[in-house]
Symmetry: C2
Subunit: 141 residues, 2 copies
C-alpha cells in the first residue's frame, strides 16, 4: 500500500473493542481495581464512568504509589481510596474517525490510545503493539 | 531514506546509553528497587549483575504482585524479598550490531529492548517511543 494510504487510512482494524478492554469505574475502591488489574494481566487500564465515557487511566504503578506512606506502606488505603482519587487524568483519546497518522503520532507518548464515538462513548483502545505490528507489516510488503 | 536502508540500518542512534538507564542489582531488596522506580519515574527497569550483565527486569507491577498475600497485603515482604527472587527473566536482549528491523520486530512484544555488547555487557535500551518516533519521521519525509 502507498505511504499516503497508510497515514490517511482508517483506524477501525486496530481498535481492541470496548468489550475486550479490561476497565474499572471511578467509584471502585483501589482494592477492586487492583483485583481487576491482576486478573486481566495488564499494568494499566481505562476508567469508565456510568455513562461509558472515559474518565482516566488506573495503573498498578499508580496504586502502588498511593499506598506508599512516609514511614511505611499503608495497604489499608486500598479499601479507603477510590480509583477516582488517584487515576491518571492525562491520557490520549481520539474520535473513531481520525486517520492512522494521528494515532501513530500519539503512540510516541502513550502506551495506548483510547478511542471514543462522536457522542463521547468509549469505543476501545489502540495499543502500541498494534501500531508497531502494522508498520512492521507495511515495511515488509 | 530507502525502506531497505531503514530496516537494514544500525541501531546506535536509538539506544539510551547505560549511564542514562535507571537500574538495580539482583541482591537489592524490593524496598530499594521500589525507591529507585519511584524516583526514576519509570514503571519497569533492567536488573544488572555486578559484572554489568543483564539479569532481568523489575517493575512496579511485579513488586505489587509479590506483596499481595492471600488474606492481606504483606508490605513487610518489601524488605525481606530481593529483586532476584521476583524479577522477570523473560526479556528481549540484542547485540549492539543488529539491524533496526530486528529491534522493530521485538518491540511488538516488549516495551523496551535491551542492548548488550559482544562480551555480554549492558550497553543500553531502546524503548518503543524511540522506534515509533523514528518510523513517524521516516513516513513523513
Ligand atoms: N495478555 C497479553 N498477551 C500478549 N502480550 C501482552 C499481554 N499483556 C501484555 N502484553 C505485552 O506487554 C506489553 C505491555 O503490557 P501492559 O499491560 O504493560 O500495557 C498495556 C495495557 O496497559 C493496555 N492494554 C492492552 N490491551 C488491553 C486490554 N485488552 N484491556 C486493557 N488494557 C489493555 O495497553 C498497554 C500496551 O499494550 P501493548 O499490547 O502495546 O503492549 C503489551 C504487550 O506487548
Ligand atoms: N520521564 C519521562 N519523560 C517522557 N516520557 C515518559 C517518561 N516516563 C515515561 N514516559 C512515557 O510513558 C511511556 C511508558 O513509560 P514506562 O516507564 O511505563 O515504560 C518505560 C520504561 O519501563 C523503560 N524506560 C524508558 N526509558 C528508561 C530509562 N531511561 N531508564 C530505565 N527504563 C526506561 O522503557 C519503557 C518504555 O518507554 P517509552 O519511552 O517507550 O514509553 C514511555 C514514554 O512514552
Amino acid at each position: 500500500i502507498q505511504e499516503t494510504d497508510l497515514l490517511a487510512g482508517g483506524i477501525d482494524t486496530f481498535i481492541i473493542p470496548a468489550d475486550q478492554v479490561a476497565h474499572v469505574q471511578p467509584d471502585n475502591s483501589l482494592e477492586h481495581a487492583l483485583l481487576v488489574l491482576v486478573k486481566s494481566g495488564y499494568t494499566a487500564i481505562p476508567v469508565l464512568g456510568m455513562d461509558s465515557c472515559l474518565r482516566g487511566i488506573i495503573s498498578k504503578a499508580k496504586i502502588l504509589d498511593s499506598i506508599l506512606g512516609v514511614e511505611r506502606m499503608e495497604p489499608e488505603k486500598l479499601s479507603s481510596l477510590t480509583v477516582e482519587e488517584v487515576m491518571e487524568r492525562d491520557f490520549s483519546a481520539v474520535k473513531a474517525d481520525v486517520v492512522f497518522e494521528k494515532v501513530m503520532s500519539l503512540s510516541i507518548q502513550y502506551p495506548f490510545v483510547c478511542v471514543e464515538n462522536h457522542d463521547g462513548q468509549f469505543k476501545g483502545i489502540i495499543p502500541r503493539s498494534k501500531i508497531l505490528a502494522h508498520l512492521n507489516g507495511y515495511l515488509h510488503e
